[in-house]
């Protein structure tokens, strides 16, 4: 007697398992061919750019490529070596090269990211580089005494390697000190971590307000008769159909000091002429306008989930003895969770990355981290912009992970 089960075979004698595998393999290959175009699209339009961005956040060859001689010297001499005549000669040769190729600005830009006010040191010295005579140490120091400062040499050593963590240091409000150690920048220059925090908190607040506003709207949409709910749906979707700028501008017209809302309040006598409320060009403006713009992203997933919740659940709960509040809390609300999760995640992620609205109506204290990313992009400081974006990405992924742990991604319902 053996316990080995008989090998199942198909009618034509092939082992059942093999037959199943080949049948499924065929289906899987077909499925793959179907999604292949999409996959390619995603790779080219999403994965590659993001990879490139992350690469930029740790890569800057502005100095290493324009100062090959000095880079070679740094490679040959370990960190801590006093710059000798050979080092200064290499520097002089590089500066001459920079003058010829007009790359002094590029090199200076890179060094300036780590040590400020060094730009003209490079550009001015480079201008006279071909007149420099050995001994180069004296000649350069005579040109500008700053060439003797260890901070500069440290910065150049760091920059001679195109791969650097400097931008992540800046993005976390830190810098390399004179002794090479990492320290926080002076208090009045710290901004990024604080702004990250603020961005996440504001986005959370906007998400929360959206949820509070969207919940009853979505419920109405899901329960009203078709004709009325369609009309309401159009009102909800209206923001989608108007351009972002038009919407934002209308909010400015509404909310500004001499705007519609203030005028109404004044004419009703609720506030005095000089008591006009500042509702725009500050944090309040950012919150109001972004809530409006992002509201549909909360309403739609909620609506699509609520539509599927049959009224008989609530009736059942009531017949079982639950008050209307208990019914809402224990029966209705839990069933809307997938919609709440999807809406909240969507709104939050969109809010974290929004910059046009805060830029237009945020004034000084309504700016978010994306406005700084945009600022650095406009100043062509791509690496810092990339480092900040990278951190934002990590923050969002972290949140996504947290959501998965707490609620479960499979519970997400987007519509």
């Amino acid at each position: 007697m053996t316990d080995v089960p008989p090998l199942l075979t198909t009618a034509d004698g092939r082992p059942l398992k093999a037959a199943l595998a080949s049948a499924q393999g065929r289906a899987r290959r077909k499925a793959f061919y179907l999604v292949a175009p999409l996959l390619l699209f995603v790779v080219f339009s999403f994965i590659l750019p993001i990879g490139q961005m992350l690469h930029r956040s740790i890569y800057h060859d502005g100095f290493s490529s324009t100062a090959p001689n000095l880079s070679a010297w740094f490679a040959a001499n370990p960190s801590g070596t006093e710059p000798d005549e050979a080092a200064f000669a290499a520097l002089a040769a590089d500066l001459a090269e920079m003058k010829k190729n007009k790359t002094a600005g590029e090199a200076a830009t890179r060094i300036n990211y780590t040590v400020s006010a060094t730009r003209s040191l490079f550009t001015a010295t480079a201008r006279k580089a071909d007149k420099l005579q050995p001994p180069f140490k004296e000649a350069l120091l005579a040109e500008d005494a700053k060439w003797g400062e260890p901070v500069i040499w440290q910065a150049m050593r760091a920059a001679s390697n195109p791969y650097t963590t400097d931008f992540y240091l800046i993005a976390t409000d830190r810098a390399r000190g004179a002794d090479g150690g990492i320290e926080q920048v002076p208090e009045n220059e710290r901004i990024y971590l604080w702004l990250f925090g603020k961005t996440f908190i504001l986005s959370g607040l906007i998400t929360f307000i959206c949820l509070i506003l969207a919940f009853p709207i979505a419920h109405l949409l899901a329960t009203l008769p078709m004709a009325k709910s369609n009309l309401l749906m159009i009102l909800v979707l209206l923001p989608f159909w108007t351009s972002l700028l038009v919407r934002t501008t209308s909010w400015i017209v509404l909310l500004q000091g001499q705007g519609v809302v203030n005028n109404i309040l004044v004419s009703l006598g609720m506030i005095g002429e000089d008591g006009r409320i500042t509702m725009i060009y500050n944090q309040t403006g950012t919150i109001i306008v972004m809530t409006h713009i992002l509201l549909p992203f909360m309403v739609l997933p909620l609506y699509s989930v609520m539509r599927t919740i049959k009224p008989s659940y609530a009736r059942a709960a009531r017949s079982l003895g639950a008050t209307s509040w208990t019914t809402f809390r224990r029966i209705y609300l839990p069933q809307t969770l997938p919609g709440i999760g999807a809406g909240a995640l969507l709104v939050f992620i969109l809010a974290v990355g929004y910059y046009i609205t805060p830029a237009l109506v945020g004034g000084a204290d309504g700016q978010l981290i994306s406005n700084l990313i945009q600022f650095h992009m406009s100043k062509s400081n791509w690496s810092l912009a990339a480092a900040l974006s990278g951190m934002l990405l990590v923050g969002v992924l972290l949140l996504y992970w947290l959501y998965d742990r707490l609620v479960g991604i499979d519970k997400l319902k987007l519509g």
Partner: protein, 392 residues
């Protein structure tokens, strides 16, 4: 303004109709054991038409009452008014002697089983059953004991940790039943609870529900449009049509003694022969058909000679062997159109009095006479099996 106009018009209607209904209405003096009372209840959703028209109904404690009727006849509406999810537009609903018109649903203490079960999808079976006990503030141990007892009752205790989506339709039905019973309500409403089940399972569940009803002594109001179900399970059946109770009677009466042509037609199969009352005497009527032939019938709601009537006869009560007929009974000629073999019975379609949709059922016994199409026979019935009704 338009709205106001419609509303006032509607109110007028109600007033106009009231005395009329008073005349027709069933007597509604409250008796001691009347557990549920619908007293002149009317319901309108849109202020234009009445969905429930002057409903008077009393249900005794421990009774199994079924509401039966075609789709849209107002059964669910009545149940919802009783459960408290719809308010009666007019009239009063009493539960155990107390007017409950203004009592919110969760304070009525009525168990309810929904057609689609309405099990909470985000809770396990155990949590579903525990829910009504929790909202009543019951302690954990007591809850567990009651949940176990209710699940045992429907033989589903082993499924306590499953979610509704992991159960078959019949299993979900049992859980819904257990949930409606777990908090010991004295009244349970069921709205087509077996509608989604296949025939076998349905019959099995009918038996179980009936069994639970008997063993727990609860009052059940049951809605269905399956007449077989209504007949097998109920103590009494209320046949609904067009927002009115057409007949309220025990199943046997309903089947054998329909009080109007709607009930006759709706319950079971019936042959209908239109004619005129030729003779009317104590419990007996002679009806002349359009072809001039005479048949026997029992008068139900016909009152005078010369009145038009519709005689209804159950197919299984039609006889074609003269030796089975009572003495003196009339027989009429019929032509066999076709005979259908149905296993336990044979079903013959006959041409009688000019129309060819007359059905006769014969038991498929060993010596049964074989009829063949084209053959002419004579048929007849016991006078009490044919009911002369007012035509609709």
């Amino acid at each position: 303004m338009r709205h106001g106009f419609r509303l006032s018009q509607f109110k007028e209607n109600v007033q106009e109709n009231l005395p009329l209904h008073g005349e027709n209405g069933v007597a509604t003096e409250t008796r001691a054991n009347d557990f549920v009372v619908f007293d002149h209840v009317q319901k309108s959703y849109d202020g234009v038409s009445l969905v429930v028209k002057d409903l008077n109904l009393t249900i005794a404690k421990g009774e199994f009452l079924t509401m039966l009727g075609p789709s849209g006849s107002g059964k669910t509406t009545c149940l919802m008014m009783l459960a408290g999810f719809e308010t009666a537009t007019n009239g009063e609903i009493r539960l155990d002697g107390r007017n409950i018109n203004l009592v919110p649903p969760h304070k009525r203490g009525i168990g309810m089983v929904f057609q689609n079960y309405a099990l909470f999808p985000h809770m396990t079976v155990g949590e579903n059953l525990s829910f009504p006990l929790e909202v009543r503030g019951m302690g954990k141990d007591e809850r567990e004991a009651k949940v176990k007892r209710a699940l045992d009752m429907v033989q589903m205790y082993s499924f306590i940790n499953r979610r509704p989506a992991q159960l078959s339709g019949g299993q979900q039905q049992r859980i819904a039943l257990a949930r409606a019973l777990v908090f010991d309500p004295s009244l349970v409403l069921m709205d087509e609870p077996l509608g989604a089940l296949d025939k076998q399972l349905r019959e099995h569940m009918q038996f179980e529900i009936k069994h639970l009803h008997e063993s727990l002594g609860i009052t059940v109001v049951y809605v269905t449009h399956d007449q077989g179900e209504a007949l097998t399970m109920s103590d009494r059946v209320a046949v609904f049509n067009d927002g009115k109770i057409q007949q309220l009677a025990p199943p046997a009466d309903l089947y054998e003694r329909p009080e109007n042509s709607f009930v006759a037609q709706f319950i079971g199969e019936n042959n209908k022969l239109p004619g005129v009352i030729e003779e009317l005497s104590e419990g007996k009527a002679l009806v002349r058909l359009a072809t001039g032939e005479l048949i026997d019938a029992t008068p139900v709601n016909v009152t005078a000679k010369g009145q038009k009537t519709l005689v209804s006869i159950r197919p299984e009560r039609v006889e074609f062997k003269p030796e089975m007929m009572p003495p003196g009974a009339h027989m009429i000629g019929a032509e066999v159109i076709e005979v259908i073999y149905m296993g336990d019975i044979l079903r013959a379609r006959l041409k009688v009095a000019g129309s060819d949709d007359f059905v006769m059922k014969m038991r498929n016994t060993l010596g049964q006479t074989k009829l063949s199409p084209g053959e002419t026979i004579r048929i007849g019935w016991h006078p009490q099996d044919a009911r002369a009704l007012e035509p609709m």
